[in-house]
Amino acid sequence: MLKDRLRSVQLAPSLHSPPKKSGAPALPQNRSSHGLEQFFSSLQDQESLSILDFSGASQANISFITSMGHRIYSNDVMRSMEEAFGSGGDFVANQSDPERAAAFLRESLDFPERSFDGALIWDTLQFLAPALLQDTVDRLFRTLRPQSSLLAFFHAEEKAESAPLYTYRIVDTKNMSLTPRNQVRPVQYFNNRSLEKLFQKYHSVKFFLTRDHLREVIVRR
């Protein structure tokens, strides 16, 4: 069972810790990304592809993807999670409610099979409880076309009590801008082995561990 395979971090009663309250708005940080570079190299020399973006609509991502001649499907999955599981009770426990879980999957991943040629999932998967996480990953598998790539991030600091939740904006094929959204307690800790098992249906999984404790993962469908 996935829950046994993935080592859980001790959970707080609620997934969300309050956002940092400071006078100035959080400033975006730019950083390079090998994962992003690999993702875009897999799209090279192709046009009219369909790309799924889980970070929510932004001018940067839309302009960048469409300027490459591709179609983008935008959805703010963290917002969908909040809507599905955020009200009445514990955020993580609510993910075990079959009705709520079904509503989340319907809202976020109700696509015909093999609809997309690439998926930018960013760091959203790490906030899903094990059973729903596996359902989501399986649903992504069906949604993606063979040979397509999926980019996901997982925080790699095992002992961290909370991880920053970011809004990701594409700067170019190798760089992205991260704007802090919140500090969130991850539902699970992922290592390379657990990620390989999570994506075992997929053709391949490649990891890049960054200096800022982020595990960038490129998964080939």
Partner: protein, 191 residues
């Protein structure tokens, strides 16, 4: 006409209005904002407005710019004009226009031949097809975006060797602007 008066002129309780109240208007028949002869020309007025207390069920066709601050359930078409969905506007409708500015809510597919502008706090759930898109931070969008690039003007077909001779002969006759017609004529002759 409903689209020419300020919304204060439409009381929220139509039953209390002395005259037949146009709002909340519920229509099933297609509506048009085409100017009527007895009204001033549209050039002399601002955009047509559907106020926030108005609800329309049905199809809207317009040949002038339109601002919707009410509720629409159906479809909205302004092929050569601009549609503005005001902050109170709620559309459960497919939209086709030259330009669409969203400050309120749209649930439905949007086709804007020129541009779509989704402002902060706006909400759009549906698929977009447009030439240009501007989306402000704070706007919510869920759906796909297809950028329809205007077709580049087709370059004149490269003349075949036989055409080159004909074309050269024609051009030598002093008609510098006749390149394409000459090529066409030569093409016909080669059939």
């Amino acid at each position: 006409m409903w689209n020419k008066k300020k919304e204060e002129e439409y009381p929220p309780k139509p039953a209390s209005a002395p005259a037949p109240a146009p709002s909340p208007a519920k229509e099933n028949a297609p509506m048009s904002t085409n100017p009527i002869l007895s009204h001033p020309a549209p050039e002399s007025r601002g955009p047509a407005i559907i106020g926030k207390s108005v609800m329309i069920k049905g199809q809207i066709f317009s040949r002038e710019d339109l601002t919707i601050d009410g509720e629409i359930d159906g479809s909205v078409e302004l092929h050569e004009h601009r549609l503005t969905v005001g902050p109170n506007g709620k559309l459960q409708a497919g939209v086709k226009a030259r330009e669409v500015v969203v400050l309120g809510t749209i649930h439905g597919n949007v086709e804007a031949s020129d541009k779509i502008d989704i402002r902060k706090d706006a909400k759009l759930v549906g698929d977009i097809k447009t030439a240009r898109i501007v989306i402000e931070d704070g706007a919510y969008f869920k759906g796909s975006i297809d950028i329809a690039r205007p077709e580049a003007s087709k370059p004149a077909p490269a003349p075949a060797p036989a055409l080159s001779k004909s074309s050269a002969a024609a051009n030598s006759g002093g008609n510098a602007s006749a390149g394409t017609p000459t090529a066409a004529a030569a093409g016909d002759s080669s059939r």
